[in-house]
């Protein structure tokens, strides 16, 4: 039951993600982007939110070339779990581990508020703790969260039931209201909203906690 959280220069949700993993019963190691390998026995890799490398070039583009990313890819190829939140989602698209890209918000503004998310599928270890169609309230905080992919990719994601979450009221122009998507093997999740910021009573909401509980439960059962 081990998680690793990757830390880049400019990550700022790394500790929040670690706290959420720990609260779900996971042992957590922080991993520096220059490390060449993940700790032995890691089940879940978390790619946190923030502004890795100051969002230079494109959000997540430089982080996607970090040394540790090779091990993260190998981990995913072996069927390991990877959760990318916000900047972590941007990093996962830049590495090609998830399809599409995150563009500047259609309204050009940085948006920081709690939004409604519809759980689109319960067929993943991240979402099986929710009911299908359930609406949960989770904070977003991003400037580049406008999900884009070509029509073929969007159709494939929908056809394969890989849209994990949709916005109930699209805040950023994302195609098909997409807030989070799963990889082909359903073990990699990228999402712009921050479930780790709604995982403790002190956050003002706890509707993200079920994601971490379900994930930890799946690892424990494996």
């Amino acid at each position: 039951m081990r998680a690793a959280v990757v830390v880049f220069p400019g990550s700022n949700c790394d500790r929040d993600l670690a706290v959420a993993f720990k609260a779900a019963g996971l042992q957590v190691d922080m991993v520096w982007h220059k490390d060449s390998a993940l700790p032995q026995g890691v089940d879940i890799v978390g790619i946190p939110g923030g502004f890795s490398y100051g969002d230079y070039l494109r959000c997540g583009a430089i982080a996607a070339q970090s040394r540790i990313i090779g091990s993260v890819k190998t981990h995913a190829e072996r069927g390991g779990y990877v959760l990318g939140v916000c900047n972590g989602f941007q990093v996962l698209t830049e590495t090609g581990m998830l399809p599409g890209a995150l563009l500047r918000n259609a309204g050009l503004k940085y948006i920081c508020k709690t939004v409604g998310l519809k759980v689109e599928t319960t067929q993943s270890v991240y979402t099986e703790g929710y009911d299908a169609g359930e609406v949960i309230n989770i904070p977003i905080a991003h400037h580049d969260g406008n999900y884009f992919a070509d029509n073929e990719t969007i159709a494939r994601l929908q056809g394969e039931d890989r849209v994990a979450f949709r916005y109930t009221d699209n805040p950023n122009g994302a195609q098909a209201d997409i807030a989070g998507i799963l990889s082909e093997n359903r073990r990699v999740l990228g999402m712009m909203p921050h479930p780790e910021r709604a995982a403790d009573i002190g956050h003002g909401g706890t509707e993200g906690a079920a994601l971490f509980r379900a994930l930890a439960g799946a690892v424990a059962a494996a």
Binding site: L57, L103, A106, L108, D150, G173
Partner: protein, 76 residues
């Protein structure tokens, strides 16, 4: 040798920044601007022996995200 890489959002990819610039130009009284697309220019100072094909590789791997962007390499 220097290379100049022009990176642009692909046609069909919404460019909200370009749109905002277009609106601002209209507000300044510059009529007749039908569209604005904003991209970036990256200049590379290269050692001898680096080819245009090498620069194209750099674009594919890092300088452009070919999911949303196209690029043109200019040797200057």
């Amino acid at each position: 040798m220097k290379a100049r890489v022009h990176v642009m959002l692909k046609n069909g990819v919404l460019d909200p920044q370009g749109e905002a610039v277009r609106h601002a130009l209209g507000a300044l009284g510059f009529d007749g601007v039908k569209g604005v697309r904003q991209g970036k220019v990256i200049e590379l100072d290269l050692e001898e022996g680096i080819s245009e094909a090498d620069v194209a590789q750099m674009c594919e791997k890092l300088l452009a995200n070919t999911v949303i962007e196209s690029y043109v390499v200019e040797i200057v």
